[in-house]
Amino acid sequence: MQIETALLVGVMFAAATYLILHRSFVKILFGFVVLSNAANLLVLSMSGSPEGRSAPVVVDGVVAMVDPLPQALILTAIVIGFGATAYLILLLYRLFLDQGTTNAAELYSQPQERRES
């Protein structure tokens, strides 16, 4: 279980990196979504393997429980990631409206000189 999760996290980080380095805004956007999910999954996996453990509800004669703290952590992280992604969507949309392109390479191909104010 742990090995599979570790592999999945690795694949997700790799896929996110690949997507973010693309030119298309939509792929970049999905790259960031995958990236934040990969990070969340990594945190989640830190509660250890759930096999043979009960949900974190305390009853008499406590048995091994799943550590609930990482789940609380990613709950916060998901909300924050949601806010940041919403901002990113608007930023990319604004870039599209201003520049009339959804191609990042085209956007930054013009020289980076400061325009005349």
Binding site: L35, A39, N40, L91, Q99, L107
Partner: protein
């Protein structure tokens, strides 16, 4: 009463009030300025308290430190809080002088308050995940401010800033998770208590390097600084001063805190890496500064070059070098913000900051020239100004540790800093081209120069009163490095929830 949470509550409540108020008015401005003053008073009070006491602790929700989140203010935090309050107050007043009430964007004041709240929370927190939340508050407010009044050219510069910082956030949350997996806790004091048992464990090394990368992005260390020098110049000047003064310094503060207080002190590889990256940052960034031909661009690159000095001091990793880093941060925040504000005043007078089209400032407004000279020479490190003492201490530590190459890099960077400051001086102040108008009839510059003058007096005070300032920095450094003292102070705090046994 426990004042630990006040530096977070002040900006939070002000931001909410200002949001509900909605419309710009002189009263709203007065309220925000009043709150900034209150925040400054509280921060100075915290400095006074923490000089005598190792650390002030507050368990949020009155939980026991190991169970809940804690806020910890020690002398280092209190000094940083005071600096952030001073800068926040100065940029607010400067903004009021620069923009008339009816032309100011109604969201600017609330967003600045949220930004300050994020900054203050990252200085106060005693918990790694809470630090992540503080960073996110700060970053999201900074994204919003970056694009709030931006035109299409500015928005294009905002994307790299947002992208790089979002990747850094993902890495930070991963680092939090890994730290939890490794230590079973995210509380700074608890990590400090448990980490020595893992001494020499490669996982601990890997975590330290991951944290180094995350905070390196925030601070702007060499391979990770690409996002900064193009995005900061697009900000309105008072905001650029706030960003340049505080945001990267939060990264430096966290490096001090995490490597000094939280992680064990035997991570020599990470410390050496920090020092070498800092050396590269200093030199490469100052070369970048010389290449630019507008004041904001030059100053933005200088932030990075100066970050190099602070991180170099952290990398040397001795009590004296930590004190030097804290002294340097104190000096740098005041000087850098006031240089950006001087640049804002110059833009107001010349209507541009393109060095080819500026001039006549020395002839028409000599006082601004005097202020610029003080701060620019202080940045370059000429005695007896404040920058000299910081650099002197760092070089002394470097020579004691026989890091001759890094010391040479620091000296080269200082000389090149002086060169680029002279570039601004020659083009903007001494250049007497008759074609360049200086709009002294636009009276806004008087109040703007007044704000800068107060900051300049403060930085002169740091230079001439270097000894008491350094004494405070020394105490702050010793406390930051004293892990046992920190742990005792935090766990002496009582609260709900039975103490869990250490596994």
């Amino acid at each position: 009463m426990n004042w630990t949470i006040a530096p977070i509550l002040f900006p939070l409540l002000t931001a909410l009030l200002a949001l509900l108020w909605g419309r710009n008015s002189a009263t709203r401005r007065g309220l925000v300025a009043f709150s900034a003053l209150g925040q400054l008073a509280v921060s100075l009070w915290l400095v006074k308290l923490t000089v005598d006491e190792p650390a002030l602790v507050m368990g949020l929700g009155a939980w026991f430190p190991r169970v809940g989140i804690v806020l910890v203010v020690d002398l280092l935090s209190a000094v940083m809080l005071s600096l952030s309050s001073i800068v926040a107050l100065a940029v607010l007043l400067f903004g009021f002088a620069e923009t008339p009430v009816r032309r100011e964007h109604p969201l600017r004041l609330p967003l600045v308050q949220f930004l300050v709240m994020g900054i203050n929370l990252s200085f106060c927190t005693g918990d790694l995940f809470n630090l992540f939340v503080a960073f996110e508050i700060m970053l999201i407010a900074s994204y919003a401010l970056l694009t709030l009044e931006a035109d299409d050219w500015d928005v294009r510069q905002a994307y790299p800033y947002v992208a790089v910082n979002m990747v850094a956030s993902a890495l930070f949350i991963s680092a939090c998770g890994l730290a939890y997996g490794l230590f079973g806790t995210l509380n700074f004091a608890d990590i400090a208590l448990r980490a020595p048992a893992l001494s020499g464990d490669p996982r601990l090394q890997a975590l330290a390097l991951l944290l180094l990368a995350v905070f390196g992005v925030k601070a702007g260390i060499f391979p990770l600084y690409y996002w900064l020098p193009n995005s900061y110049p697009t900000l309105p000047m008072p905001l650029a001063a706030l960003y340049s003064g505080m945001l990267t310094k939060v990264g430096v503060y966290v490096l001090l805190r995490v490597f000094g207080t939280v992680l064990p002190h035997d991570l020599h590889f990470a410390h050496g890496l920090l020092a070498w990256l800092a050396g590269l940052t200093m030199v490469l960034a100052v070369i970048g500064a010389i290449s630019r031909n507008f004041i904001r661009g030059i100053l933005s690159f200088h932030i990075l070059s100066q970050i190099g000095f602070m991180v170099l001091a952290i990398g040397f990793f001795t009590p004296l070098s930590f004190a030097a880093a804290i002294f340097y941060i104190t000096h740098h925040i005041v000087v850098k913000s006031s240089l950006f504000l001087i640049c804002g005043t110059a833009i107001c007078l010349n209507r541009t900051d393109d060095l080819d089209r500026m001039g006549n400032l020395w002839q028409r407004v000599p006082w601004l020239g005097v202020l610029f000279l003080c701060q620019a020479l202080s940045l370059a490190g000429l005695p007896p100004l404040s920058g000299f003492w910081g650099k002197y201490l760092i070089l002394v530590v470097g020579l004691e540790g026989k890091h001759y190459l890094l010391v040479a890099a620091a000296i080269v960077a200082s000389i090149l800093t002086l060169v680029s400051m002279l570039k601004i001086w020659n083009a903007a102040f001494w250049n007497e081209t008759t074609a360049v108008p200086v709009l002294v009839e636009d009276r806004r510059w008087v109040a703007m120069t007044g704000v800068v003058a107060v900051l300049t007096l403060l930085s002169l005070g740091i230079g001439f009163g270097a000894e008491p300032v350094f004494r405070i920095a020394r105490v702050a450094a010793d406390r930051a490095l004293d892990q046992a003292g920190y742990v005792n102070a935090v766990f002496a705090h009582h609260g709900k929830g039975a103490p869990l046994p250490v596994p």
